[in-house]
Assembly symmetry: C2
Protein backbone atom coordinates (compact mmCIF):
# COMPACT_ATOMS: atom_id res chain seq x y z
CA UNK A 1 0.00 0.00 0.00
CA UNK A 2 3.09 2.17 -0.05
CA UNK A 3 2.45 4.95 2.42
CA UNK A 4 6.05 6.13 2.38
CA UNK A 5 7.10 7.91 -0.79
CA UNK A 6 9.70 6.11 -2.91
CA UNK A 7 13.36 6.95 -2.36
CA UNK A 8 14.31 10.16 -4.13
CA UNK A 9 16.89 7.98 -5.76
CA UNK A 10 14.18 6.04 -7.55
CA UNK A 11 12.47 9.22 -8.66
CA UNK A 12 15.57 10.69 -10.25
CA UNK A 13 16.51 7.41 -11.87
CA UNK A 14 13.03 7.25 -13.39
CA UNK A 15 13.35 10.69 -14.97
CA UNK A 16 16.85 9.92 -16.19
CA UNK A 17 15.51 8.05 -19.19
CA UNK A 18 14.32 10.00 -22.24
CA UNK A 19 11.51 7.57 -23.06
CA UNK A 20 10.12 7.92 -19.57
CA UNK A 21 10.31 11.70 -19.74
CA UNK A 22 8.40 11.54 -23.02
CA UNK A 23 5.77 9.49 -21.21
CA UNK A 24 5.56 12.10 -18.47
CA UNK A 25 5.19 14.72 -21.16
CA UNK A 26 2.37 12.74 -22.74
CA UNK A 27 0.57 12.27 -19.45
CA UNK A 28 0.90 15.93 -18.53
CA UNK A 29 -1.54 16.56 -21.37
CA UNK A 30 -4.14 14.01 -20.29
CA UNK A 31 -4.56 10.59 -18.81
CA UNK A 32 -4.32 7.69 -21.22
CA UNK A 33 -4.36 3.93 -21.48
CA UNK A 34 -1.15 2.01 -21.80
CA UNK A 35 -1.68 1.40 -25.50
CA UNK A 36 -2.31 5.07 -26.09
CA UNK A 37 0.84 5.98 -24.26
CA UNK A 38 2.81 3.37 -26.17
CA UNK A 39 1.49 4.22 -29.64
CA UNK A 40 4.02 6.93 -30.60
CA UNK A 41 7.05 4.91 -29.55
CA UNK A 42 9.13 2.70 -31.79
CA UNK A 43 9.36 -0.05 -29.23
CA UNK A 44 7.27 -2.97 -28.07
CA UNK A 45 4.29 -2.48 -25.82
CA UNK A 46 6.08 -4.65 -23.31
CA UNK A 47 8.94 -2.18 -23.12
CA UNK A 48 6.55 0.70 -22.52
CA UNK A 49 4.78 -1.36 -19.90
CA UNK A 50 8.07 -1.72 -18.07
CA UNK A 51 8.74 2.00 -18.26
CA UNK A 52 5.31 2.81 -16.90
CA UNK A 53 5.74 0.30 -14.09
CA UNK A 54 8.98 2.03 -13.16
CA UNK A 55 7.37 5.48 -13.20
CA UNK A 56 4.63 4.07 -11.04
CA UNK A 57 7.15 2.66 -8.61
CA UNK A 58 8.77 6.07 -8.41
CA UNK A 59 5.49 7.75 -7.55
CA UNK A 60 5.48 9.85 -10.70
CA UNK A 61 2.61 8.11 -12.40
CA UNK A 62 -0.48 6.50 -10.92
CA UNK A 63 -2.45 3.89 -12.80
CA UNK A 64 -5.78 2.29 -12.35
CA UNK A 65 -7.25 -0.66 -14.15
CA UNK A 66 -10.67 -0.20 -15.69
CA UNK A 67 -11.91 -3.29 -17.40
CA UNK A 68 -9.08 -4.56 -19.51
CA UNK A 69 -7.45 -1.18 -19.92
CA UNK A 70 -4.94 0.43 -17.63
CA UNK A 71 -5.44 4.16 -17.32
CA UNK A 72 -2.39 6.14 -16.39
CA UNK A 73 -2.01 9.65 -15.14
CA UNK A 74 0.59 11.90 -13.66
CA UNK A 75 1.03 11.96 -9.90
CA UNK A 76 2.12 15.55 -9.26
CA UNK A 77 3.63 14.59 -5.92
CA UNK A 78 6.46 12.70 -7.57
CA UNK A 79 7.45 15.67 -9.70
CA UNK A 80 7.05 17.97 -6.74
CA UNK A 81 9.68 16.06 -4.82
CA UNK A 82 12.16 16.52 -7.64
CA UNK A 83 11.44 20.23 -7.80
CA UNK A 84 11.97 20.53 -4.09
CA UNK A 85 15.23 18.58 -4.03
CA UNK A 86 16.72 20.53 -6.89
CA UNK A 87 15.37 23.87 -5.70
CA UNK A 88 16.68 23.46 -2.20
CA UNK A 89 20.21 22.77 -3.39
CA UNK A 90 20.16 25.56 -5.92
CA UNK A 91 18.91 28.11 -3.41
CA UNK A 92 21.42 26.99 -0.82
CA UNK A 93 24.23 27.70 -3.24
CA UNK A 94 22.75 30.94 -4.56
CA UNK A 95 22.33 32.32 -1.06
CA UNK A 96 25.99 31.60 -0.49
CA UNK A 97 26.86 33.47 -3.66
CA UNK A 98 24.79 36.45 -2.55
CA UNK A 99 26.53 36.46 0.81
CA UNK A 100 29.86 36.49 -0.98
CA UNK A 101 28.80 39.45 -3.08
CA UNK A 102 27.84 41.35 0.04
CA UNK A 103 31.10 40.43 1.67
CA UNK A 104 33.14 41.64 -1.26
CA UNK A 105 31.11 44.85 -1.56
CA UNK A 106 31.63 45.59 2.11
CA UNK A 107 35.30 46.19 1.44
CA UNK A 108 36.34 43.56 3.93
CA UNK A 109 37.93 41.42 1.24
CA UNK A 110 41.55 40.45 1.75
CA UNK A 111 41.42 40.61 5.54
CA UNK A 112 41.29 36.84 6.17
CA UNK A 113 38.03 36.80 8.24
CA UNK A 114 38.27 38.93 11.31
CA UNK A 115 35.09 40.17 12.89
CA UNK A 116 34.69 43.60 11.53
CA UNK A 117 37.65 45.94 11.72
CA UNK A 118 36.89 49.56 12.42
CA UNK A 119 38.85 51.21 9.67
CA UNK A 120 42.16 52.48 11.07
Amino acid sequence: MSLASPAIDTVFAALGDPTRRAIVERLAASEATMSEVAAPFAMSLSAVHQHIALLEGAGIVACEKRGRERWCRLDPRGLERVERWVGERRRLWERRLDALQLYLASGTAGTKTKKKRKRP
Copy 2:
Protein backbone atom coordinates in the same frame (compact mmCIF):
# COMPACT_ATOMS: atom_id res chain seq x y z
CA MET B 1 32.95 27.21 -26.16
CA SER B 2 29.47 25.83 -25.50
CA LEU B 3 27.11 28.77 -25.77
CA ALA B 4 24.08 26.51 -26.06
CA SER B 5 23.06 24.78 -22.86
CA PRO B 6 23.45 20.99 -22.83
CA ALA B 7 20.46 18.87 -23.86
CA ILE B 8 17.98 18.50 -21.01
CA ASP B 9 18.53 14.82 -21.58
CA THR B 10 22.12 15.15 -20.41
CA VAL B 11 21.08 17.11 -17.35
CA PHE B 12 18.57 14.52 -16.18
CA ALA B 13 20.91 11.65 -16.89
CA ALA B 14 23.56 13.38 -14.78
CA LEU B 15 21.23 13.68 -11.79
CA GLY B 16 20.06 10.11 -12.20
CA ASP B 17 23.12 8.77 -10.43
CA PRO B 18 23.24 8.83 -6.61
CA THR B 19 26.96 9.53 -6.45
CA ARG B 20 26.54 12.57 -8.66
CA ARG B 21 23.66 13.85 -6.59
CA ALA B 22 25.84 13.48 -3.51
CA ILE B 23 28.44 15.58 -5.30
CA VAL B 24 25.83 18.24 -6.05
CA GLU B 25 24.85 18.12 -2.40
CA ARG B 26 28.45 18.59 -1.37
CA LEU B 27 28.96 21.51 -3.74
CA ALA B 28 25.76 23.21 -2.63
CA ALA B 29 27.53 23.78 0.67
CA SER B 30 30.70 25.30 -0.80
CA GLU B 31 33.10 25.05 -3.68
CA ALA B 32 35.82 22.44 -3.33
CA THR B 33 38.74 20.84 -5.12
CA MET B 34 38.35 17.50 -6.80
CA SER B 35 40.18 15.68 -4.01
CA GLU B 36 37.98 17.31 -1.41
CA VAL B 37 34.88 16.27 -3.30
CA ALA B 38 36.22 12.75 -3.71
CA ALA B 39 37.34 12.24 -0.11
CA PRO B 40 34.07 10.90 1.38
CA PHE B 41 33.48 8.39 -1.39
CA ALA B 42 34.52 4.76 -1.37
CA MET B 43 35.73 4.84 -4.95
CA SER B 44 38.83 5.86 -6.83
CA LEU B 45 39.63 9.50 -7.53
CA SER B 46 39.47 8.62 -11.18
CA ALA B 47 35.85 7.55 -10.84
CA VAL B 48 34.93 10.79 -9.11
CA HIS B 49 36.80 12.69 -11.80
CA GLN B 50 34.58 11.05 -14.39
CA HIS B 51 31.44 11.93 -12.45
CA ILE B 52 32.51 15.54 -12.14
CA ALA B 53 33.34 15.72 -15.84
CA LEU B 54 29.85 14.48 -16.58
CA LEU B 55 28.23 17.02 -14.27
CA GLU B 56 30.30 19.67 -15.96
CA GLY B 57 29.17 18.50 -19.37
CA ALA B 58 25.59 18.74 -18.19
CA GLY B 59 26.05 22.33 -17.06
CA ILE B 60 25.35 21.51 -13.43
CA VAL B 61 28.87 22.07 -12.16
CA ALA B 62 31.49 24.54 -13.31
CA CYS B 63 35.16 23.97 -12.65
CA GLU B 64 38.24 26.10 -12.89
CA LYS B 65 41.83 25.08 -12.60
CA ARG B 66 43.94 27.02 -10.14
CA GLY B 67 47.50 25.82 -10.07
CA ARG B 68 47.38 22.09 -9.88
CA GLU B 69 43.97 21.98 -8.20
CA ARG B 70 40.60 21.92 -9.90
CA TRP B 71 38.02 23.96 -8.03
CA CYS B 72 34.44 22.93 -8.59
CA ARG B 73 31.23 24.69 -7.85
CA LEU B 74 27.55 24.43 -8.58
CA ASP B 75 26.22 26.10 -11.69
CA PRO B 76 22.69 27.08 -10.62
CA ARG B 77 21.56 27.32 -14.23
CA GLY B 78 21.76 23.57 -14.71
CA LEU B 79 19.54 22.88 -11.71
CA GLU B 80 17.22 25.68 -12.74
CA ARG B 81 16.53 23.96 -16.04
CA VAL B 82 15.49 20.80 -14.24
CA GLU B 83 13.19 22.74 -11.95
CA ARG B 84 11.60 24.41 -14.92
CA TRP B 85 11.10 21.24 -16.93
CA VAL B 86 9.55 19.39 -14.01
CA GLY B 87 7.53 22.37 -12.82
CA GLU B 88 6.03 23.07 -16.21
CA ARG B 89 4.77 19.51 -16.62
CA ARG B 90 3.46 19.32 -13.10
CA ARG B 91 1.57 22.60 -13.41
CA LEU B 92 0.16 21.64 -16.77
CA TRP B 93 -1.36 18.54 -15.25
CA GLU B 94 -2.53 20.24 -12.06
CA ARG B 95 -4.31 22.95 -14.03
CA ARG B 96 -6.11 20.22 -15.88
CA LEU B 97 -7.15 18.64 -12.61
CA ASP B 98 -8.45 21.96 -11.33
CA ALA B 99 -10.45 22.42 -14.50
CA LEU B 100 -11.96 18.99 -13.99
CA GLN B 101 -12.94 19.84 -10.43
CA LEU B 102 -14.67 22.97 -11.63
CA TYR B 103 -16.40 21.04 -14.35
CA LEU B 104 -17.68 18.43 -11.93
CA ALA B 105 -18.76 21.06 -9.41
CA SER B 106 -20.70 22.91 -12.08
CA GLY B 107 -23.16 20.05 -12.28
CA THR B 108 -22.51 19.52 -15.95
CA ALA B 109 -21.08 16.08 -15.42
CA GLY B 110 -22.63 13.29 -17.38
CA THR B 111 -23.77 15.50 -20.24
CA LYS B 112 -21.10 14.47 -22.69
CA THR B 113 -19.55 17.96 -23.37
CA LYS B 114 -22.06 20.36 -24.68
CA LYS B 115 -21.43 24.05 -24.33
CA LYS B 116 -23.18 25.01 -21.18
CA ARG B 117 -26.79 23.96 -20.75
CA LYS B 118 -29.05 26.46 -19.07
CA ARG B 119 -30.60 24.30 -16.40
CA PRO B 120 -34.08 23.19 -17.51
